[in-house]
C-alpha cells in the first residue's frame, strides 16, 4: 500500500448522489472488509472485491428458470453450462425493472439494475453505475480504480458510467489490455529486486505544474463544466497515484502470476466463437489483475445489450433472431435464440470458474469476490422487463451464501444491486429512484 494516497471523502459523497444518499458513512476501510480472518503475507487483510458481468438478450423462461428454489434446485436446459460452478453461484429469477416513462428496449432494463434509475434519454443514464460508486470507495488504493472490458471487440459497448455523461470505455483488445496491465509499467509484487525509476519521480513532480492550471480554468466555466474539471483533477490525482505505485516496492502477492503476453488475438468480429475466445483472454487477464491487487472493481461484458453475436452460417444475429425466429412447435421455444443464451451461460461459467481456480489465503479468489451478473431484458422477443434473471457469484469474504436459486416473485431488480452495495459496505438507507427505489436486501443470500 502506498502511504501518500488519501481517501477523498468528497468523492465518496459525490459517489452517493446516484442513490439519493440518505446516510453517509465513514470511508470504508480494508479492515471492514475482512470477513474470514485470512490475510496477505504482509498481514494486510484480504480485501473483498466487486465485479459485474453482462450478457445481452435475456433468456427463455421455460428452459431457464429452475422449477425448485433454494439449495437443491435442478439445472435447466439453458443453465446446464453452469453445472461446474453451481455451488459458487446464486440464480436470481423473477425480478422487475420499472420503466418510469419512456422505454428504451434494450437499454432501460440493464441501466435500472446498474444505476438504480430508468433512463430518460436513449444513451445516457441518470446516475453513475454501481461499480463506480464502489470503485470510489474501495478502488482508491490500487493501481487501477476499476477495470472494464468487453469481449465484443467494440469500444462502444458501454456498461459502466463514471457519471451520467461519462461512460467508462471498455478495453476491447486483449493484447492492448495485457499491455496496460502487465506491460512495462507493471511492478511484479513478487520480484526480488526493486529500484524506483528517477524519471518517474520527475514525471510525478511535473504534474504539479498542471494542477494549478485547473484553478485558473475553474473561474471561467459554468457549474456543469466545473464538475468536469473536478473529474479531470481526480484523473490527475489518479496519475500521481499510479506513479506512486511505480515508486513504491509492492507487497508480495502469492497469487499473482501473470502469463506471458499474447502473440495474437481474435480477428474483429461478432461470431460467437470469436467472442468466446476474446472473453477467455480478457477474463484470464481480469482475474490475474485482481489476484495481483491491481484493481478491486471490475466489469466484464460478454455481449452487448441488444446482442449482435452471430452464429456461423446463420443469417440472423442474436438480437434479430430473438424477434424473428419462430417458436419451434415441438420444442416450444426459439431454438436459435436459446442457442445464443446457452453460449452466454458457457462464458459466464468460464468467468466464475476462472476466479475459483486462483488460490488465495485459505480458499480461492472467488471467496473474496462478489460478482453481479445481469442482462437487458427477460424474454428478448417482447423486450420484457418482468421476470428478469440475474446472478451473483462469490462469497464476498464470507458475507454471502451461494448455490441457491431465489425466486424474487416480481420484486425489484434494484434490490439485488442494493444488496451488493450493502454487502460491499456502502452505508445507505435506500438506493435508486422512483419505482426502482428500494431499501430491501435479498436476505436469502446473506450469510
Amino acid at each position: 500500500m502506498t502511504s501518500s494516497v488519501t481517501f477523498n471523502r468528497r468523492s465518496a459523497l459525490k459517489g452517493l448522489l446516484g442513490g439519493g444518499a440518505i446516510t453517509v458513512g465513514l470511508p470504508l476501510l480494508d479492515a471492514d472488509l475482512n470477513g474470514n480472518g485470512t490475510a496477505f503475507a504482509d498481514e494486510s487483510p484480504l480485501p473483498v472485491r466487486f465485479g459485474t458481468w453482462f450478457w445481452g438478450c435475456g433468456m427463455t423462461k421455460k428452459i431457464f428458470v429452475p422449477a425448485q428454489t433454494g439449495k437443491n434446485y435442478e439445472l435447466t436446459e439453458e443453465l446446464e453450462a453452469i453445472k461446474n460452478v453451481k455451488q459458487h453461484i446464486n440464480v436470481h429469477t423473477n425480478l422487475t425493472a420499472y420503466r418510469d416513462g419512456t422505454f428504451f428496449c434494450h437499454y432501460t432494463g440493464w441501466v435500472v439494475f446498474r444505476t438504480g434509475s430508468a433512463p430518460v434519454v436513449g444513451n445516457l443514464p441518470l446516475y453513475e453505475s454501481l461499480d463506480t460508486t464502489l470503485a470510489n470507495r474501495i478502488g482508491r488504493t490500487t493501481r487501477f480504480k476499476s477495470l472494464t472490458a468487453t469481449a465484443t471487440g467494440d469500444i462502444r459497448n458501454i456498461i459502466s458510467y463514471e457519471n451520467a455523461t461519462t461512460p467508462n470505455p471498455p478495453e476491447f483488445s486483449p493484447m492492448a489490455f495485457y499491455t496496460r496491465l502487465f506491460g512495462p509499467d507493471f511492478q511484479d509484487p513478487n520480484a526480488a529486486e526493486f529500484k524506483p525509476n528517477p524519471r518517474i519521480m520527475m514525471r510525478k513532480s511535473a504534474l504539479s505544474a498542471v494542477t494549478d492550471q485547473i484553478k485558473a480554468l475553474n473561474g471561467k466555466v459554468g457549474a456543469e463544466d466545473k464538475a468536469r474539471l473536478d473529474q479531470y483533477f481526480t484523473g490527475l490525482r489518479h496519475l500521481e497515484q499510479q506513479f506512486d505505485h511505480q515508486l513504491t516496492k509492492p507487497e508480495p502477492r502469492a497469487a499473482c502470476k501473470p502469463a506471458k503476453a499474447f502473440k495474437d488475438e481474435p480477428a474483429p468480429g461478432t461470431d460467437s466463437q470469436l467472442i468466446a475466445a476474446r472473453h477467455k483472454m480478457m477474463t484470464d487477464l481480469m482475474v490475474m489483475a485482481v489476484a495481483c491487487d491491481q484493481t478491486r472493481v471490475f466489469n466484464m461484458t460478454m455481449s452487448k445489450s441488444d446482442s449482435n453475436t452471430t452464429k456461423q452460417g446463420y443469417e440472423k444475429p442474436h438480437h434479430t433472431c430473438t424477434h424473428e425466429e419462430s417458436i419451434d412447435e415441438k420444442l416450444g421455444y426459439q431454438p436459435n435464440a436459446s442457442w445464443f443464451t446457452k453460449r452466454s451461460m458457457e462464458n459466464w461459467a468460464y468467468f466464475v470458474e476462472a476466479f475459483s481456480k486462483i488460490k488465495e489465503g485459505d480458499g480461492t479468489l472467488l471467496d473474496n469476490v462478489l460478482i453481479m451478473a445481469n442482462t437487458d431484458v427477460s424474454y428478448a422477443r417482447v423486450h420484457s422487463l418482468e421476470e428478469m434473471p440475474a446472478f451473483t457469484a462469490g462469497r464476498a469474504g464470507g458475507k454471502v451464501k451461494t448455490g441457491l436459486h431465489i425466486d424474487h416473485k416480481g420484486g425489484q431488480g434494484t434490490a439485488l444491486s442494493y444488496t451488493c452495495l450493502k454487502v460491499m459496505g456502502l452505508d445507505v438507507e435506500s438506493w435508486g429512484t422512483k419505482s426502482n427505489q428500494t431499501n430491501k436486501e435479498v436476505g436469502e443470500i446473506l450469510a
Binding site: 462502444r156 457519471n163 498542471v210 452460417g313
Partner: protein
C-alpha cells in the same frame, strides 16, 4: 500519391517552422505558404469570395443571441492532427482516445459533455509520454527543438523557456501566461539537473504540458463586443480555435494565432482573410473528411464485421477501403470539383481499390483509381456505395429497416423513435411459407399498426436498396425471387435505387440536414429552437450559392452567430430543434 504529397508538405512546413535557432514566427510565413498549396490544380480557387458579394445576398443574417460557449474535449484526431502540424506527421502516438457519445447526430457534440475518466487520463498520459520521447529523440530533436543547450548534461533555462513557450502556444492554442510557462520551465530545469540530461528534463515538462487541461480541453472564453454593446464575442484565441477545429479539425496554425494576437481576426476583413486562406488550404480536406465521417457515422466501421462464410470477399481491407471510397468521393466532389452537395446522391463517379473491385465485381485496378459507373448502372450516389450498404446491414444479410433508419437519421436529420414496449412480435415469425424476399418479410411491419407508424418511414427507403446484399454486392434476386426495389420517399415515387437517389437529391431535408449538422458541428452545440431563423438563413444562402459546401462553411464561419456567444456559462444543451423528428412520424 496524393496523401504522400500532402504529408511531405506538412513535414517540411513544420520542420521549417521550428527550425533550430530561429524564432518560430520568422519562418512561419514560408511554412504556411507551402501548407496552403492546393493539392488539386485550381480546385479551390473559387473558395475565396469577396465580402461584397456575400453582402449582396438577398438575405441577411437574423439577429440571434449567438451560440453557446463550450468546454470541449479535444478528440483523438484533433490531437493527432495538431501534433502532426506542430512536430511533423511521424510524431504520432499509437493512442486510442475513447470516442465521445454521439449527441444529436454527431460524436463531436458529445465532446462538449464528456468527462475525463481515470482510464482516459491514463491514455492521455501514455500518449504524452510517447510524443515527448519522440520529440527529444536524438534523431529528431535537432529538427523540432529550436535551440540547443549549452551543455546536454545540464539544465539550460533559456533554451527550456524558448521551447516551452513555442510548443505551449501551439498546443494550448494561445500563448502561455508567464505563470504557466514558468511552472513548466521549473520542472524542465529541475528534472534536467536531477537526471543530468537537458533533453530528459525537457521531455518530462513536455509530457506534463501535453496532459494539461489547456491542451486537452478547448475552453471558449468571451469578452464584451466593443462594436455591439450588450453582446459578447469569443475572444480572439477562442475564435481562432473554433475556426480551425471546424475547418481543419486541428488546432490553429501559426498564422491564425498571429491573426488572433494582433486582433486582426476580430475585424470583418481580417476574419474573411483567414477563413478564405483556410478554405483554400489543402488542410481543408482533412476538416471536411472529419465532418462527413462524423455525420455519416462512419465510426461504425471501427467495429464492423461480416460473416465470412456468407461474404468471403468482405475482407478487412475492403472494410477500410469502403470508408475511404466515400470520403474520397466527398472530398473530390465537394472540394476539388466544388460540386453541388445534392449531386452526391446521384453521382456515378467514384474511386475503386483492389479490395473494393472484388465486391463491385469489376476488374481489380493496381491501386486506388478513379472510376465512373456506366450510365444506367444501379450504382448511383453514395448510398449505393459499399460503405452505406455494408454498415447498415447485418453480418450475414441485409436489413431494410437499418438502412432506412440510417438514411432518415443521417441524411435527413429525422430521428426514428425507438420501438414501443411489449410489442407482440409473433407476426415477425419467419420463414412463413412463401416469403422469400426481404420485402415480403418486412411487409408485416406495415400490417401491424403499432409497427407501421415508424417502419413505414424506414422500410421503403431500405427496400429500394435491396438490389445490394449485406456486403454491398449487386443482386437481381433473393432466394430465387426477383427483387422489387420500387417505393416512395415522402410522396415521391421511384422504381429503383437510381430513382431513390434522385428523390434524395430533390428532398428539401437533404440540404437542410447538412446545414443543421454543419452549424452544430462548427459551434460544438446541438441546435435549439432559437436557432431556427438562423438555420433558415443558412439554408437560403446554401441554396443561393448552389449547395456548395465550402461556401456554406464560409457563410457559417463568417456569421455573427459563430463568433458571438450568449455569455451565460450554460452548458446543458437545450431542447433540440429537430422539427423533422416528430413530423417524420406524423407526416407519413
Amino acid at each position: 500519391m496524393e496523401v504522400e504529397v500532402l504529408v511531405s508538405l506538412y513535414f517540411k512546413g513544420s520542420v521549417s517552422a521550428l527550425l533550430r535557432g530561429s524564432a518560430i514566427a520568422a519562418v512561419s510565413a514560408f511554412a504556411l505558404a507551402s501548407c496552403s498549396a492546393p493539392t488539386t490544380e485550381g480546385a479551390k480557387a473559387g473558395a475565396a469570395k469577396p465580402a461584397a458579394e456575400a453582402a449582396a445576398s438577398k438575405t441577411s443574417e437574423p439577429e440571434t443571441a449567438g451560440s453557446a460557449k463550450r468546454l470541449r474535449l479535444l478528440s483523438q484526431d484533433q490531437y493527432l492532427n495538431t501534433l502532426a502540424y506542430v512536430f511533423g506527421p511521424d510524431v504520432r502516438p499509437d493512442a486510442y482516445f475513447p470516442p465521445a457519445q454521439r449527441t444529436d447526430g454527431l460524436l463531436s457534440l458529445g465532446a462538449a459533455k464528456a468527462g475525463v475518466t481515470p482510464t482516459r487520463m491514463e491514455i492521455y498520459q501514455k500518449a504524452a509520454q510517447t510524443v515527448s520521447a519522440l520529440i527529444v529523440d536524438p534523431k529528431r530533436r535537432d529538427f523540432v527543438i529550436t535551440c540547443k543547450p549549452a551543455d546536454e548534461k545540464k539544465s539550460d533555462r533559456a533554451c527550456a523557456t524558448k521551447v516551452v513557450t513555442e510548443v505551449g502556444r501551439l498546443m494550448s492554442r494561445r500563448p502561455l501566461t508567464a505563470d504557466k510557462r514558468d511552472a513548466f520551465v521549473e520542472q524542465a530545469v529541475g528534472a534536467a539537473d536531477k537526471l543530468k540530461d537537458f533533453y530528459a528534463g525537457l521531455g518530462v515538462a513536455l509530457e506534463a504540458m501535453l496532459v494539461s487541461p489547456n491542451v486537452l480541453f478547448v475552453t471558449e472564453r468571451s469578452e464584451p463586443d466593443p462594436k455591439n454593446p450588450g453582446q459578447h464575442r469569443l475572444d480572439a484565441y477562442s475564435l481562432a480555435t473554433r475556426l480551425s477545429l471546424f475547418l481543419w479539425n486541428a488546432a490553429p496554425d501559426d498564422q491564425l494565432l498571429k491573426a488572433a494576437e494582433t486582433g486582426e481576426i476580430q475585424t470583418p476583413k481580417g476574419l474573411a482573410k483567414q477563413v478564405d486562406r483556410m478554405l483554400a488550404s489543402a488542410r481543408l480536406d482533412q476538416g471536411v473528411r472529419a465532418f462527413f465521417d462524423d455525420m455519416f457515422a462512419f465510426d461504425t466501421f471501427n467495429a464492423l464485421s461480416k460473416d465470412t462464410t456468407v461474404y468471403p470477399t468482405f475482407t478487412g481491407q475492403a472494410l477500410t477501403d469502403a470508408r475511404e471510397e466515400t470520403l474520397r468521393v466527398v472530398v473530390d466532389h465537394l472540394i476539388a470539383k466544388k460540386g453541388d452537395y445534392r449531386d452526391l446522391f446521384t453521382t456515378r463517379e467514384t474511386f475503386i481499390s483492389p479490395a473494393l473491385a472484388a465486391i463491385y465485381k469489376l476488374p481489380a485496378p493496381p491501386t486506388w483509381t478513379r472510376y465512373e459507373f456506366p450510365e444506367g448502372s444501379q450504382r448511383a450516389g453514395i448510398v449505393t456505395h459499399i460503405s452505406f450498404l455494408a454498415t447498415h446491414s447485418h453480418p450475414a444479410r441485409t436489413s431494410a429497416t437499418l438502412r432506412g433508419k440510417a438514411l432518415r437519421e443521417l441524411l435527413l436529420c429525422q430521428p426514428v423513435p425507438p420501438p414501443p414496449a411489449n410489442v407482440d412480435f409473433s407476426a415477425v415469425e419467419n420463414p412463413r411459407p412463401g416469403l422469400r424476399t426481404t420485402r415480403d418479410r418486412v411487409g408485416f411491419h406495415l400490417e401491424n399498426p403499432v409497427c407501421a407508424g415508424c417502419h413505414k418511414i424506414m422500410d421503403p427507403m431500405g427496400l429500394a436498396l435491396e438490389n445490394f446484399d449485406g456486403e454491398g454486392s449487386f443482386r437481381l434476386t433473393e432466394r430465387g425471387a426477383p427483387i422489387d426495389a420500387s417505393g416512395t420517399l415522402d410522396g415521391k415515387p421511384f422504381t429503383d435505387v437510381v430513382g431513390l437517389g434522385k428523390a434524395l437529391h430533390d428532398h428539401p431535408a437533404v440540404p437542410s440536414c447538412l446545414v443543421k449538422r454543419a452549424y452544430s458541428y462548427a459551434t460544438g452545440s446541438p441546435t435549439t429552437n432559437n436557432d431556427r431563423p438562423l438555420l433558415a438563413y443558412f439554408n437560403t444562402r446554401f441554396s443561393e450559392e448552389g449547395y456548395r459546401v465550402p461556401d456554406l462553411m464560409r457563410t457559417i464561419a463568417l456569421s455573427s452567430a459563430f463568433s458571438h456567444v450568449n455569455d451565460t456559462t450554460q452548458t446543458t444543451p437545450g431542447k433540440t430543434a429537430d422539427a423533422s423528428s416528430k413530423s417524420a412520424a406524423a407526416s407519413n
